[in-house]
Symmetry: C2
C-alpha cells in the first residue's frame, strides 16, 4: 500500500492526466537509467535485445536510481507550478544514471554536450558512454550538469545543501539523503545545520531522507527503527517530518499522488515559514523546517526476483540486478522485459525524442535543475571587494625584534573584507568554535556568530541571526558548508586547529578531485579557492598535549594534483597578510596557510613581505653573512617557529664564527621547493641551485614532518647535502622551547647541526659544541624547575 | 533550582550523612582539580596563597571538570552499592585534572605512581606535575589510570564505550559525552550504536550527555534547544532519557540527591532490561537503554564572576578562569577564596591524606574505576587461537598462471579464527557495510552480522543478535568500536575500501599516538594490534570512479612513529594469508594490509610465500634472468597490480632481449625499504644494495603515490638510479588496464621505462619502443570500442 503523510491537506492533487504524465516522465527516466547501465545499442528497443546490444562489463548502481528519478520528476512539477529556483543535491550520487537521465530529458545535457542529442543516436551515445572507458563516470560527477556534489563518498549532501542555501534567500535546495549515507557521522551531525540558518537571509534546504531500506549488503538503521522513533529523531533534530511511503507491490500511481500532495504541503509550510520570518511574525524564533521521509523499495520498478531471489526491495538491487546477462539467457530475457515494462514506445517518438507532452513537464531555461546557475557557481561568482592589505601592516622597528600576534592582525583584514562585502553577502568565515581562539576576533566587529538556537539574557558571544561566522564544533560541517558555499559562487575562509584538520582529510580529497576534474570541463566556470588557515599549530599547543600536535595535513595535501594545491608558511604578520590577500583572490585552488596565533617575532616590513611572498622563497640578506659570494652554509627555514629558531641558531653561529658565511633562505610558498616540471610554482633547478648552492651544506628547519622536504627536493643537485629538521612526532603538554628541543629543531641543536656539517667548523668550535649541549640541558632544567621557558630564550630577538 | 528527572522513583535516596559525604568527596576532587591547574606549592593551603605558590603558566581546562568529578563521585557510590564492574570514559578528556583527582583520591594513582603519595608531599607533586614540563599532559591520557580514551580530539567517546562493552556482559561503561563533543559527526552517529548491542552478550553503556552549555567560546547546540526537543532526539536515537538539572545558583546538595535518585532509577532500569533479556522475556526486541541528560553550569563551583564578567556558567570557565593571577592581585584573591570554598581542612587530614570516612566512599581494589583491568585491557588479553594459515593455501600450478580472489581466501581463514575463538568471545570483524563486498563472506559461515534493529521475514543477510561482524555505514563507528574493543583486551580486524579509510585519518592518528605513548608506560600491558585490510583499492574501482581512487592512507600512516606502524602489500593469496597471520598475532602496532579483492594471478606456493613474507622483500628468482651475477636492470614492485604489470613488462623485455639480465624484486613489507636506523624493519644499506645494486637502473612500480618510495629510499646508495611509477591521481570509471595506462604503470610503459634506462638498450630496441607505444594506443582503442580490456592483456600469464 501507499501511505500518505498525515499532514497533507489534499489526497489527490494530480488530475488523471497529470498523474499519467508524471508517471510517464518517471518511466522515461527509469528507462534511460537502465539503458545506461546495460546497453551499447538498440536504445529504443526497435528489435529484440541481443547480446551485442549489451555492454560487456555491467557497471553502475540501480538501487537508488528510481527513487532519485521519482523525486526529480516531482521537483520538476513544483518548480513549474511555483516558479521555484531550485537545485538538486543527490546524496546517493552513486545513482549517476538517474541524474544523467533527468538532465538529458530536460534538454540541459544536449545543450552542454551537443554530441549527445535528443534523438536515437544521442540516446545510444548516452547509454554507451556511461561507466565506459572514455565516457562518463558512474556517479554524479563534476561532468554532470546541475551538480555541486559528487556523492561517491557518502556523508556530505546535507552540509553541501546548507552551504548552497546560505545567503541565497530565493534558492530551494532539494537534498536527497540516502539511508546508507544517513548512518555516517558527518551526515548525522549536519541535520543540526538548521540552527545556523536565517529564514530571512538564507535559502531553504528541503531534506528528503530516502529510505530504500538497504545499503550494499545490509539493511539500513533508519529504515529499521519504528516510524514513530524516526519521527522523534527528526523532531529532535528540529524538523517537521512528512512521510510518503510506497511499499513493495503498491501502485506507483498512488505514490505519485501522495508525493505531489506532500510536496505541496511542505512547500506551503516553507512559504508560511518564510512569510512569517519576513514579516517578523516569527519573533526571530527558529522554525521547524519540513523534511520528508520517503520510503520506496530499493530498485523500485526493477525485476522483482532474479534466479528466484528477491531483488526489487532488496540489497540485491544495489548495483546491477542481473550481472550475468552475457552467460545466462534468462537474464537477458529479464532485462528485455524489464526495459519494455516502461513502454518506451509511448515515451519517445520514432526519432528518439521525448514526447512533447512529456518534455513540457520539465521547467525551462535556467529553472531546469540541470541548468540552474547556482550549480555552476563560478558563473555567479563576483570578485570580493578587497581592502588594501598593506593598510594592516605591522611596521616593526627592525628585523626580528618586535612581537605581534599574526593571526590577530589577519583578523582585522578579514573584518574589513567582511564589512566591505556586506552588501554582496558573499563572504563567510568558518571554524569549529575556534575563531576567537585562533585570534580572529576582530571579525566580530563586522559580523556575528550565526546562531538560530536559543539565547539567554547574558549571552555575550556575538550570537546573531545575521552572523557570517559559523562555528559548530564540527570540522565536517565547516568543510561541507564551505564547499557548498564556494561551489555556488561565493567566497570563504576556514580557520582550524592544525591537528584536527585531518578530520576532513577525506573531504579535502574529494574537493581537490572535483577541482582537478573541472580543469577539463570548459563549461564549469572557476570558483573561489578553498582557503584554510591552520593555526594553533604543532609547536604551540600550550594548553593541550600530544593529541593536538600533528602537522601532517600538508603531506596529505601535496599528494593531490599540483595544479590544484598551494601551501604557504608565512613566518610573520605582513607575509601572512600578503598570502591571505593572494589566496582570497585566487580561483580553483585549495590554499593551505599555516601560521601561529601566539605572539611571535616580526621580521619583514610590508614592502619586504610583498617582495618575499611574490618570490615565495628567498635569501634574507639582512640575516645572512655571505655577502655576494658563495656561502659556507645555507640555513633554510619554513614556518614561523622554525624561522625563529633558525635565526637564533644563525645568531649563535655568527657570534662564534664571525667569518662564517651563512645564508638564510626562508620559504613562504612550499611548492617552490619542487621542480618546475612537477609544480607550477616550482623553481627551476638553476634557481634552486642559486639559492641552496650545488655543494654546500644546507640545514633546513621545517614546520612539519622533515621527510616532506626530502620528498620535494630529492631531484635537486644539492640534495645530498640537505639536512632537514622538523617535527618527528615527539610531543606532550610542555613549553614552546621544550617542544622545539624534543624534536631537535631548537637553536642549539641547529647550531650543532651546522657545526657538524660545515667542513672544518667542528675543529674550530672547540668547546662550543659541548656548550650548546649544555645549554639544551640547562634550558630543559629551567622548564622543569620553573614551568616556563627561560626568558633569555623566549625573549630572544635578532641582535644585528 | 535543581530539577529531578520525572522517571525517578525516590526523591532523596541519600541520608543526610551520605549526602554530606558525597558532597565532601566531590569538593575534594574539585579542590584537587583547581590545585593542579594553579598551584606549585602550598597544596593544603596551610598559609595564604602567594605568587610563589602559583604556576607561571596556567594551563588546563576547568570548565568541564566539576561535572566530571560529580559524575565520578556518584559512580563510586553506585559501584559500591551494587558491586558494579564499571569503567569511566571521559569524553571531555580535556578535563584531565578531574579524572586525575579521582584516581588519586581512590588510591589507584599512588599505587601505580608511588612517587605521588596520598600525603602533602604527594599532593604537591600531583599539583606540580600537571601540564608542567616533564610532568603529565593536561588531558586524560594513556598515562592516566582507568582511561581508554584520550579525549583531546573530540567525537569518539561513545564509540569507544560501546567497543569496550561488546562481549563484556558484566561491564558497565559510563560514557560522559560533552555537549561540545556532541556536535561532532562521529559522536552524532554513534548514538545509534545501540542497534548493534545484544543485552545478553554485551555489556551496558550508560551515556551521560553532560550539558554545561558552552564549548570554547560559544554556546552548544544541544544545550540551546528545548528540553522536549532534546528528549525527542534521544528517544529518536532509541534511548530512554533521564534528566538531572542543577541550574546556576542552585544548591548542589539538591543536585546530589537528584543524581543519586536518577542513577538508581537508571540502574534499576538497566537491571530490568538485562533480566528481561536473559530470561527471554524481551522477545529479542531492542530495548530503550536509559541515558542521562545532566545539565550543570560550566565551571560549576568556580568563581561566579571575574573582573565583573560572568564566569561560572559561562564559556569563560572553559580553560583557566583567571589567567592573570601573577599580575592581578585581585585574581590571586579570587583564587584563594575559590580554593578555600572547598574547605580543604575538612577533607584532608593534617598529613594530607583524604579523611578516612571519605576514602571509604570509593570502591576498593579492582572495582575502582582507575584500577579496573578492562581499562588496561592488555592485562586481560588472551592470544587468539589461530588455525594454521597454511591450511588455507592456494597451490598454484606455477608462478603467475592461475587466478584467485585473494581476499576471498583470507575470508576462509578469518572464518575459522572466528569459529575457533567463539568460546572466548574476543574476536570481531568490522567494516562499513563492506565485508561481503570485500569478499570476506566466508565469515558468515561462522557468525552473523550483529543487528538488533527490526528485521523482516525475507531478511537473508545473516543478520543475527549474536553476530560478531559489525557493519554500520560509518568508518568512524567501525574504527571507534574497534579501538574500544582492542583497548579492553580483545582482537579485531577492519576491512575497508582503500580510499575511504581516509575518513578515519585523524582517529588513526590518535590511536597511533596512544600506542606510541604507552611504549613508555610500563604498567600498560600490550594490546592487540589494530589491523586494517584496505581493499577495493585504487586500481580496481570497476564500479566506481575517481572518488574511490586514493592510495594515500599509507603516506599518512608512515608519518607516525616507526615503532608503531607496519605496512604490507601482499601480491597474492598465500602472502596475504601469511601477513594476516602475522598481524593477528602481533601487539601494539597498527598494521596496514593492502590487497585487492578481484581475481588476480597467484605467484607463490605457500612455502615460498612464507619465506618471502618472513624476509618482507626479496628477489623472485623464477622471474629473474640475472642468474647469480649482477643484473643489467632491477624491476621492483610493491602491490598486486604493480606486481602483475611488472612481470608482464619483464616478459616483454625477456622476449625481446633474451640476454638481458633482469632482476625482479618484490616488496611485501614496505618498511623494509627504509633504513634500519629509521624503522625496525628497515634493511641495512648493505642488504638494500645487495637487492637493488649500487649503480644499475631500477624501475620500481608501486601501488600508491610514487614519491613515497623516494621518501623511504632517498638515502640509499642507488637512489639516483631509482625510477618510480605509481598512482599519480589520474582516474575515472574505466577498465583495470586503462587505469594502469592512465598512470603509466602498465606493462608497455614499464618496458619502455626499462629500455630508456638500461645503457645501450634503446639502440638495440629498434622499433620495439614504437611498437610498445602502439600497443598502448591499441589497448586504449580496444577498451573504447568494446568497453573491456583486450583479453590478450587481461588474460596474460607468466609464460616461463
Amino acid at each position: 500500500m501507499t501511505r500518505l503523510s498525515r499532514q497533507s491537506p489534499r489526497k489527490s492533487p494530480l488530475s488523471a492526466k497529470d498523474l499519467d504524465a508524471v508517471n510517464a516522465y518517471w518511466r522515461a527516466a527509469n528507462y534511460l537509467s537502465v539503458g545506461q547501465i546495460y546497453l551499447l545499442d538498440n536504445p529504443l528497443m526497435r528489435r529484440p535485445l541481443s547480446l551485442d546490444d549489451v555492454k560487456p562489463r555491467l557497471l553502475g548502481h540501480w538501487g537508488t536510481t528510481p527513487g532519485l528519478n521519482f523525486i526529480y520528476a516531482h521537483m520538476n512539477r513544483v518548480i513549474k507550478a511555483r516558479d521555484l529556483d531550485a537545485i538538486y543535491v543527490a546524496g546517493p550520487g552513486h545513482g549517476g544514471p538517474g541524474v544523467l537521465a533527468n538532465v538529458y530529458l530536460e534538454g540541459t545535457y544536449s545543450e552542454i554536450y551537443p554530441g549527445i542529442g535528443q534523438d536515437e543516436d544521442g540516446m545510444r551515445k548516452l547509454f554507451r558512454q556511461f561507466s565506459f572507458p572514455g565516457g562518463v563516470p558512474s556517479h554524479v560527477a563534476p561532468e554532470t550538469p546541475g551538480s555541486i556534489h559528487e556523492g561517491g563518498e557518502l556523508g556530505y549532501s546535507l552540509a553541501h545543501a546548507y552551504g548552497a542555501a546560505f545567503d541565497n534567500p530565493d534558492l530551494l535546495v532539494c537534498a536527497v539523503v540516502g539511508d546508507g549515507e544517513a548512518e555516517t557521522g558527518p551526515l548525522a551531525a549536519s541535520w543540526h545545520s538548521n540552527k545556523f540558518v536565517n529564514p530571512v537571509r538564507d535559502g531553504t534546504v528541503l531534506p528528503i531522507l530516502h529510505l530504500n531500506g538497504y545499503k550494499i549488503a545490509n539493511p539500513t538503521v533508519l529504515s529499521r527503527i519504528p516510524q514513530a522513533e524516526l519521527e522523534q529523531l527528526m523532531r529532535g533534530y528540529g524538523y517537521e517530518p512528512f512521510t510518503v511511503v510506497s511499499e513493495e507491490g503498491a501502485d506507483p500511481l498512488e505514490a505519485h499522488q501522495a508525493m505531489a500532495a506532500t510536496l505541496d504541503a511542505m512547500l506551503d509550510r516553507i512559504a508560511d515559514i518564510r512569510t512569517r520570518a519576513l514579516t517578523g511574525r516569527d519573533n526571530g524564533e527558529r522554525p521547524a523546517w519540513p523534511m520528508l521521509i520517503l520510503r520506496t523499495p530499493k530498485g523500485w520498478t526493477g525485476p522483482k526476483t532474479v534466479d528466484g531471489k528477491r531483488t526489487e526491495d532488496s540489497w540485491r538491487s544495489h548495483q546491477v540486478p542481473m550481472a550475468n546477462v552475457h552467460t545466462n539467457p534468462a537474464h537477458l530475457k529479464v532485462l528485455e522485459e524489464w526495459m519494455r515494462s516502461y513502454r518506451p514506445e509511448e515515451l519517445f517518438d520514432p526519432a528518439g525524442a521525448l514526447m512533447p507532452e512529456l518534455a513540457a513537464l520539465a521547467p525551462s531555461g535556467l529553472r531546469r535543475m540541470g541548468a540552474n546557475p547556482h550549480a555552476n557557481g563560478g558563473v555567479l561568482l563576483r570578485d570580493l571587494k578587497m581592502p588594501d592589505f598593506r593598510d594592516y601592516a605591522v611596521e616593526p622597528a627592525g628585523h626580528g625584534v618586535e612581537h605581534a600576534e599574526s593571526t590577530k592582525i589577519l583578523g582585522t583584514f578579514l573584518r574589513d573584507i567582511m564589512s566591505d562585502n556586506s552588501g554582496a553577502d558573499n563572504f563567510r568565515v568558518f571554524g569549529p568554535d575556534e575563531t576567537a581562539s585562533n585570534r580572529l576576533q576582530a571579525l566580530f566587529e563586522a559580523t556575528g556568530r550565526m546562531w538560530n538556537a536559543e539565547t539567554v539574557p547574558w549571552d555575550d558571544e556575538h550570537l546573531a541571526l545575521d552572523g557570517r561566522v559559523l562555528e559548530p564544533l564540527s570540522e565536517h560541517m565547516c568543510q561541507g558548508w564551505l564547499e557548498g558555499y564556494l561551489l555556488t559562487g561565493r567566497h570563504g575562509f576556514f580557520s582550524c586547529y592544525e591537528a584536527f584538520i585531518h578530520i576532513v582529510d577525506s573531504m579535502f580529497n574529494q574537493h581537490a578531485k572535483w577541482l582537478k576534474t573541472t580543469r577539463h570541463i570548459p563549461w564549469r566556470a572557476p570558483i573561489a579557492s578553498l582557503n584554510y588557515l591552520l593555526t594553533s599549530h604543532v609547536w604551540r599547543q600550550d594548553h593541550n598535549g600530544f593529541s593536538h600536535q600533528d602537522p601532517g595535513f600538508i603531506d596529505h595535501v601535496v599528494n593531490k594534483k599540483a595544479d590544484v594545491i598551494r601551501v604557504y608558511l608565512p613566518p610573520d604578520a605582513n607575509t601572512l597578510l600578503s598570502v591571505a590577500d593572494h589566496c582570497l583572490r585566487s580561483r580553483d585552488y585549495v590554499n593551505v596557510i599555516v601560521a601561529g596565533k601566539q605572539p611571535q617575532l616580526q621580521y619583514l616590513s610590508m614592502e619586504e613581505a610583498i617582495v618575499h611572498c611574490t618570490r615565495g622563497i628567498g635569501i634574507w640578506e639582512w640575516a645572512s653573512s655571505d655577502g655576494d659570494g658563495e656561502p659556507d652554509l645555507v640555513m633554510g627555514c619554513a614556518g614561523d617557529v622554525p624561522t625563529m629558531e633558525t635565526l637564533a641558531a644563525v645568531d649563535i653561529l655568527r657570534q662564534n664564527f664571525p667569518d662564517l658565511k651563512v645564508r638564510v633562505v626562508n620559504v613562504v610558498d612550499l611548492m617552490r621547493l619542487q621542480g618546475s616540471d612537477e609544480h607550477p610554482h616550482g623553481l627551476s633547478d638553476k634557481e634552486f641551485d642559486a639559492l641552496f648552492t650545488t655543494a654546500k651544506p644546507v640545514v633546513f628547519t621545517y614546520h612539519g614532518y622533515p621527510w616532506l622536504i626530502h620528498r620535494l627536493t630529492y631531484r635537486r643537485t644539492n640534495h645530498g647535502n640537505l639536512h632537514v629538521r622538523g617535527y618527528k612526532e615527539e610531543g606532550t603538554t610542555t613549553t614552546p622551547f621544550d617542544m622545539a628541543m624534543l624534536n631537535d629543531i631548537d637553536r642549539y641543536h641547529l647550531a650543532i647541526d651546522a657545526i657538524d656539517r660545515v667542513p672544518g667548523l667542528a675543529e674550530r668550535a672547540g668547546h662550543l659544541r659541548q656548550q650548546l649541549l649544555d645549554a639544551r640541558l640547562k634550558a630543559r632544567q629551567y622548564t622543569r624547575e620553573f614551568g616556563e621557558d627561560d626568558p633569555a630564550i623566549s625573549g630572544w630577538a635578532w641582535p644585528y
